[in-house]
Symmetry: C2
Subunit: 441 residues, 2 copies
């Protein structure tokens, strides 16, 4: 049997080791149309190519006027002005003549000379003339309107109800920062700036390899079913989906031979096809006799050992050479729950840090019923947090699902959190506060 | 000018009205491969087609034995047994002869007759014989192993280290419930059960119509730029993206004419092409002169009025007939921030309730600096919550971004929360606790 180097690490140490390995993968960027960029993380800062608003415009439906025309009266007295040609949104208005008031729509450009907008509700009459309302009616140069003078309710002075060009965003300003996730609100801002594309972090490419002579593709003809001793292989589908949830592009591979040379041949072929940035394996690394991943990869420089956590104790990590490139490999144990929590503990944090995955939220919560925990190991228990939204002032409670057995998949699917019980803790009382990692709704 | 019915409603009342309108849209389901179902909401309960595990198997690398063979000794004394043919994972083992111990790998099927597994660490020697390790070596019928008797450390009795068939999931049991979101963990459970597809809620189809004579497609040749008075239209891109974030399929349409007959013609053509379940409009519904949405839709039965919120006061809602089908229409004001908060307040809750959107989380937080709020209106302010993950025991603080102006898009893009200030509140002091709706990271 091949002699392999064996490490003993805390969760923190192994996470740092995996992060260091993945540090050799350069984050790539790509420029995508807004719709495709949605949900991705920005690779670069974005600067405003124009002012927002692009021009001074009216915040209200009302009348655009010169301040002097409202200030010439006694303070508070109303002023009668001739109604100028109305200004619809989207038009380039003529300058405003002194002594006139131009009906103006919300968002329409303020004419040269105008300094404030008096809202329609402060005008007498409190409606626009018919020629404004009905497009078919000719402009009536004889209309007049009564507006409040400056100092009155409805007219406080120059700048009132005017949105200045650049008051939201000035041209050249940084409006989005590298690392921000593109939300619908970012898409809105980008579109308002006339942008049609955004530079985003490209997804990490991963290859997931599940191993075991007992595993069978879930797509195997259902009428045939499982032979005695066989199980449907779920780790590759689960880890590919977990990678997709974290923004990575992954493909799965099943290796059902325990022969290292077959493992290498299948790995090499898949790697040539998919050129992965990262390889994740599940299974084949514990102390048993037929540990194909360990047998194959230890010779290639991957280290194996134990991490002080339960489930997920056996772990491996290293870099292998594939077609002249060093590719990081992170090796998980084969029990489905062990594989999943290993992903959450060691890989997802790096994906959040550097490759655009949403960060996982931690949540303090009150444990509903007491539990024991092995000494010297970080224990991760599947659990359900109560609905935090229900009473936002209260800290939620959390209930353990099922036992610690790492083959129990139903409690994993039903969980929305992992309860983290520290290495030094061997018992947690009912009602005690615990740390949780939120992994679902 | 067309006379239109005018409602006055609270946010709660208008949300209920929109929910009632959208109640006429039947939720559809579709069956998708696991990978495509990821992130969708289950349309039906899912039952287990097989037991999990499918057969009794070993939880450890060790020796499968009969309880009687370990019990026949004095309590605690070790027992020597002949080593039987080893059992690899994936094989169908022969029954275990009395007086023998079969080397067994983790996950391998327990042979008939075996009742417990003694882990390798409790055996003497603490390794498997060479014929187990090296596939090329012949089975050696003469090997013997010393195991602890029942009562000793390492042998507690029948059932030890045995995973019983069906102990995770029994055939026929409900393993996933309608309404649950398909996570990587659900994909894992489904695959383990041999399932390759899941029944999920089909996305709502929506048509988003932005209006305004001033609006220009952001994709307009950039060297040409904006003409005076024009703005890049961002509401349709933003709402289409917001619908996508909420799991809906949406297309956008720009109507740049203020003529109702042009609005109807473009709406009709788009509706025939996309057969929307829901139509959202932005703009054209306030008190101004050229309010195309109101002019066009009021005659078709859509109601317009005021909702006691800021921004987003003007609102419309109703059902229009399109090719003999009643299609719900929800009409938002045209300012981008008003449009966005209207979507969060009125449409997204229904999408979360019935069409597979992730529910928004509410979070209590401490307001960093005092602010005023208009009386009689629910005020929604763009804000940033501090990182909740940083110190999970503390409630986060929240900082308002920019002023209440509904044209300010930069603070909207930068926000990760909306602070909700109740109708009856006109001032919130610095350090006061406020409710927030979490809308981003």
């Amino acid at each position: 049997m091949t002699e392999v180097s064996r490490f003993r690490r805390s969760v923190t140490e192994h996470r740092a080791a995996v992060a260091e390995l993945m540090g050799r993968v350069a984050a790539r960027s790509e420029t995508l149309p807004l719709r495709a960029a949605l949900g991705r993380v920005l690779a670069e800062d974005v600067a405003a190519p124009i002012d927002l608003p692009p021009f001074d415009n009216s915040q209200m439906d009302g009348y655009a006027v010169r301040a002097a025309d409202l200030a010439s009266s006694e303070a508070g007295a109303r002023v009668g002005l001739a109604v100028a040609r109305p200004i619809a949104a989207g038009t380039d208005p003529a300058p405003l003549a002194p002594g006139t008031a131009a009906p103006i729509m919300t968002g329409a450009a303020l004419p040269d000379g105008a300094e404030l907008v008096v809202p329609i509700e402060a005008a007498v009459p409190e409606t626009f003339p018919a020629f404004v309302v009905d497009v078919g009616v000719e402009y009536d140069a004889g209309s007049r309107v009564s507006l409040p003078g400056i100092g009155s309710v409805g007219a406080s002075g120059a700048g009132q109800y005017v949105r200045r060009a650049g008051s939201d965003v000035g041209v050249g300003a940084r409006v989005m920062a590298a690392g921000e996730r593109v939300s619908a609100r970012h898409v809105g801002l980008a579109a308002a700036l006339g942008l049609t594309e955004l530079p985003v972090v490209a997804p990490l490419r991963a290859l997931v390899i599940a191993t075991g002579e007992e595993i069978v593709d879930p797509g195997t003809a259902p009428e045939q079913g499982l032979a005695p001793g066989q199980i449907y292989e779920s780790n590759s589908a689960m880890l590919v989906a977990a990678l997709a949830e974290a923004g990575a592009e992954a493909v799965g591979l099943r290796v059902t031979s325990d022969a290292p040379e077959v493992f290498w041949a299948q790995l090499g072929e898949a790697a040539r096809r998919h050129t992965p940035d990262l390889i994740l394996t599940s299974g084949g690394i514990s102390a048993g006799a037929y540990e194909v991943v360990k047998l194959a990869l230890a010779e290639a420089g991957v280290e194996f050992g134990a991490v002080a956590m339960q489930p997920g104790g056996p772990q491996g990590a290293g870099v292998i050479e594939l077609d002249g490139h060093g590719v990081p490999v992170v090796a998980f144990p084969g029990n489905p729950v062990s594989s999943y929590v290993s992903f959450e503990m060691f890989v997802r944090p790096v994906l959040a840090e550097r490759f655009g995955a949403a960060p996982r939220r931690r949540q303090r919560a009150r444990l509903k019923a007491e539990t024991d925990s092995p000494p010297g190991k970080l224990q991760l228990r599947r659990a359900r947090l109560t609905d935090v939204a229900a009473d936002p002032a209260e800290l939620p409670s959390v209930e353990l699902l099922g036992g610690p057995g790492s083959h129990l998949m139903y409690p994993l699917a039903a969980a929305n959190a992992l309860v983290l019980v520290e290495e030094s803790t061997t018992h947690v009382g009912s009602g005690a506060m615990v740390d949780t990692l939120v992994i679902g709704e």
